[in-house]
């Protein structure tokens, strides 16, 4: 551990200010990266979550400090001790709730907002470490979270492109077209293992749609499969989800 930080590990005015500022800064920087991608939770959301998380641990350290010094007499009489991680523990649970609220299931049976939830949660955990004054963990944690958000999308894309499983969302004119679409998918050397058909509602101008879960027998470009399906007559929209 760095001796350099030792002064700032104890609870004093300088360390409190430093920790709260760090929480705002690091939370904000992660949020900024998400904001750039126009994700629901942005700059301020991350900043607030991280700041709040840091404050909870500061608060419990403050109480511990008071129990040791000014309130020591009373505390001794009653025999009370406080656990410094009790407040912080609830943050982890609470931000889990908050994150669950950012997850949406779209009309196409697609789950969205999971990375936002996970990122928010991870930055709350980082906020706890900041509040505890665990600077080594914070610096490294910030770096890793930032890299995960910044660089890994590229890795993720290449995995997706090489995946042999696809989920294809298709909108078509009428249910009579499903047979042709299924035939076309199978002619692409692919196996369908799940179909989820949704009939449209004419009064709402909703077209019938289906989600096909497909496994390709050989590695091939997903766009080729999509293009092949789009040639089927009656298909309006086609999308890989």
């Amino acid at each position: 551990m760095f001796v350099f930080f030792d002064q700032l590990r104890q609870l004093n005015l300088a360390s409190i200010l430093l920790r709260l500022t760090l929480a705002m800064l690091f939370g904000g920087l992660i949020g900024l990266e998400r904001e750039r991608k126009r994700r629901p939770a942005g700059f301020r959301t991350y900043m607030l979550v991280c700041l709040g998380a840091a404050l909870t641990l500061l608060l419990s350290q403050y109480e511990y400090h008071m129990l040791m010094t000014e309130w020591a007499e009373q505390a001794g009489e009653i025999g009370i001790r406080t656990d410094v991680s009790r407040f912080g523990a609830q943050v982890i649970n609470g931000i889990g709730f908050l994150g669950a609220g950012t997850i949406i299931v779209t009309g196409r049976q697609e789950v969205k907002g999971l990375t936002t939830a996970a990122g928010l949660w991870a930055s709350a955990c980082m906020g706890l470490a900041i509040g505890a004054g665990f600077y080594e963990c914070v610096l490294l944690g910030f770096l890793l979270i930032f890299l995960a958000i910044r660089l890994l999308p590229y890795v993720e894309n290449s995995i997706v492109e090489n995946a042999r499983n696809m989920n294809i969302y298709v909108e078509f004119q009428s249910l009579d077209d499903v047979g042709a679409i299924i035939n076309r998918i199978k002619s692409q050397d692919a196996q369908i293992y799940e179909v989820d058909i949704e009939r449209g509602r004419e009064e709402n101008l909703l077209r019938p749609s289906a989600v096909f879960s497909v496994r390709l027998h050989q590695k091939q470009a997903h766009t080729r499969v999509l293009a092949a399906i789009s040639e089927v007559e009656g298909v309006y929209t086609i999308d890989e989800i």
Binding site: M1, A100, A148, L152, R164, D176, I182, I192, D196
Partner: protein, 230 residues
């Protein structure tokens, strides 16, 4: 316990770095497999959750071992178990056919959070071995599953037909052949008589019944427009 890790069980700069990097690696390995299967929670989600969980146990060990506060070392980590349950709950979908999807994703996320806890706590053996087991299960069992699917006695049939009488005939045919219908899903266009209805059957075949013959039989039924094996 492996003596190899003993120097990394204390809280110091090296062990903190090793634990967090291991959390990223293990979370990534679990997530990569999910991503490859095109499931909602992918690579980054697993990494972030595994890393966050590792930070919680690290923080409580730091508070106790390094700062000597009075604290229960398991308290922060214990909340992870509940908190990630919530996030996982968000990934579960109930489709319009009242089927539940996304349970494996939720369970996988939760497991990678627990792996993160173990790694952050310095329980390297547990964390690494669990990751290896998960990977093994996913790679070996998934392959096994696909192989079983290929010669499974269960098939899914997609059928287009004109009217109800025809559907009844087909159902009667299944009864005569002694085929068990596991699942039946009928989709009809609303309001119009001109369009055809379609049905998806899940059938359990018996030994006597060949798929090709079954398809031919169904096709021969009056009113059936097309029939496909999925």
């Amino acid at each position: 316990m492996s003596a190899f890790f003993d120097s990394l069980r204390e809280i110091n700069m090296v062990s903190v770095s090793v634990r967090m990097l291991l959390a990223v690696v293990c979370g990534g390995v679990i997530g990569m497999e999910r991503e490859y299967k095109r499931r909602p929670a992918g690579f980054r989600t697993h990494i972030l959750i595994c890393l966050g969980a590792a930070m919680t146990t690290l923080t409580s060990q730091y508070l106790f071992l390094y700062m000597h506060y009075y604290t229960d070392m398991a308290r922060l980590g214990a909340q992870v178990v509940a908190g990630i349950g919530f996030i996982g709950a968000g990934t579960i979908i109930v489709t319009r056919q009242q089927r539940v999807k996304g349970l494996t994703t939720a369970a996988g996320l939760w497991t990678s959070a627990i792996v993160g806890l173990a790694l952050g706590g310095g329980f390297y053996e547990g964390g690494i071995f669990t990751t290896v087991l998960i990977l093994l299960a996913e790679l070996v069992f998934a392959r096994l599953e696909y192989r079983m699917l290929e010669n499974a006695p269960e098939i899914n049939l997609y059928m287009e037909y004109t009217d109800r009488v025809c559907l009844e005939k087909v159902l009667k045919l299944f009864r005569e052949l002694n085929l068990k219908i596991l699942n039946l899903e009928i989709t009809r266009p609303t309001g119009s008589e001109h369009h055809n209805a379609c049905a998806i059957f899940s059938l359990r075949l018996n030994k006597k019944c060949k798929v090709e013959k079954l398809l031919a039989d169904i096709h021969a039924t009056r009113g059936v427009l097309s029939v496909e094996e999925l």
